[in-house]
């Protein structure tokens, strides 16, 4: 299922397993595909695995873009 959402890492263990938080929901996650992931990072999770690290700078840029577009409506 493509139900992949951006969630914040709250725990990473040496085993590669850990927890992300999505709007107050804790999800057991496997971080092996993102060895650089650390607590506080945002990741895209899918079927219990983190598959991509969210680029916070790009996220902010996108949000700014949309705020601009809302204003120019």
């Amino acid at each position: 299922m493509c139900l992949a959402v951006p969630a914040k890492i709250t725990r990473v263990e040496a085993s590669g397993l850990g927890i992300v938080d999505y709007l107050g929901n804790e999800v057991k996650t496997n971080f092996t595909l993102l060895p650089e992931a650390k607590v506080g990072d945002w990741v895209i999770i899918h079927a219990g695995f983190a598959i991509s690290l969210l680029d916070r700078k790009e996220a902010r840029r996108t949000l700014r873009l949309f705020r601009e577009m809302a204003k120019s409506s």
Partner: protein, 328 residues
């Protein structure tokens, strides 16, 4: 040979078709044909019944006993009746632990006290092990009419008020089933809706508690009974952050998730703000909101429409079957 499917009990279209095609023709009389949540009897008495098969028996914020009281109490409230008496019928599975049964009975007692109703008659059956599932409960409720739904008086401009957040009960039961790698801090909203009763005397036109099938199913029922389309706004519908998140993770739509302590009230246009204020005064109504209206500008009669947060417009269909079996 035709067989009963699980979906038939889901509170959605299949169940309604069943009632329309089999129940009504078999028993049809003017009281039943109203298809209100309670039968409104001569002499100002309302009678309702409900059976409770929730799995698991205990979940955050409630249990089968509490449901069995509040569910029936609420069916009376939304039919314009002040709840007075309940019957309590238990079907127990052989081998059930005493402690479990005692907990459920105590919960029923507490809920009945809170709702101001008395258990005045009942029945107990025990079925051999394997032929039931721990406990099934049926409660019938009797109440005194203090008002009467008046669907025929609903007009364009009349507003829809939702008494609080959607989906809390569904998510609590789901979490209690322990199926997922997801943990949500959520509590069932199982509670009596007595605080809505005074609205009947003030002119409330229609009420329904939002149970199986969720808000979309309940409002579809309304739309089918009036000659005007119903329009609700996605941005105004209260949903808690946790339920929103869990529903996105699980791919379930909050508009179809069952509640056990929330209702939709149709308020005459001029009284909507006043009704909202009254509801919000009560602790259980703090997140109440006007979510839409009956109108005749957009859509066709019989339609339930959703104005999305993105500026789109779409039809909301009733659920054909509940998302999760044994939710209440």
């Amino acid at each position: 040979m035709k067989r009963i499917s699980l979906e038939l009990g889901g509170g959605g279209r299949l169940m309604r078709d069943f009632i329309a095609e089999h129940v009504l023709p078999t028993f049809g009389n003017p009281i039943l044909s109203e298809l209100a949540d309670s039968g409104l009897l001569p002499g100002g008495i309302a009678l309702t019944t409900d059976s409770y098969v929730v799995d698991p028996l205990f979940f955050s914020g409630g249990d089968i006993g509490r449901l069995a009281v509040n569910g029936t109490v609420n069916d009376l409230v939304v039919s314009g009746a002040a709840p007075r008496y309940l019957s309590l019928a238990l079907i127990l599975e052989e081998g059930l632990e005493w402690d479990l049964l005692e907990k459920v009975l105590k919960s029923i007692r507490a809920a009945a006290r809170r709702a101001g109703v008395r258990i005045v008659t009942g029945d107990t059956k025990v079925v051999p092990q394997g032929q039931g599932d721990k406990i099934f409960i049926n409660t019938a409720g009797v109440g005194k009419s203090v008002g009467r739904p008046a669907v025929a008086r609903i007009r364009p401009g009349d507003k829809l008020i939702l008494s609080g957040t959607l989906g809390d009960h569904s998510l609590a039961v789901l979490m209690a089933r322990g199926d997922f790698g997801i943990t949500s801090r959520v509590r069932s909203d199982c509670a009596p809706l007595l605080f809505l009763l005074p609205l009947w005397k003030k002119g409330a036109l229609w009420m329904r508690d939002v149970t199986r099938g969720g808000l979309a199913t309940v409002l579809s029922e309304l739309a089918e009974r009036i000659p005007y389309p119903v329009l609700i706004e996605e941005g105004r519908i209260p949903v808690s952050k946790t339920v929103r998140g869990a529903s996105e993770l699980l791919g379930i739509d909050p508009l179809y998730m069952a509640c056990e302590g929330k209702a939709v009230v149709v308020a005459p246009r001029r009284q909507a703000e006043d009704f909202l204020r009254r509801i919000r005064r009560h602790p259980l109504g703090r997140r109440a909101a006007i979510i839409g209206e009956v109108q005749d500008k957009v859509g066709r009669p019989g339609e339930l429409l959703l104005a999305t947060v993105s500026g789109g417009l779409r039809l909301l269909e009733p659920l054909t079957s509940e998302l999760l079996p044994r939710i209440c």
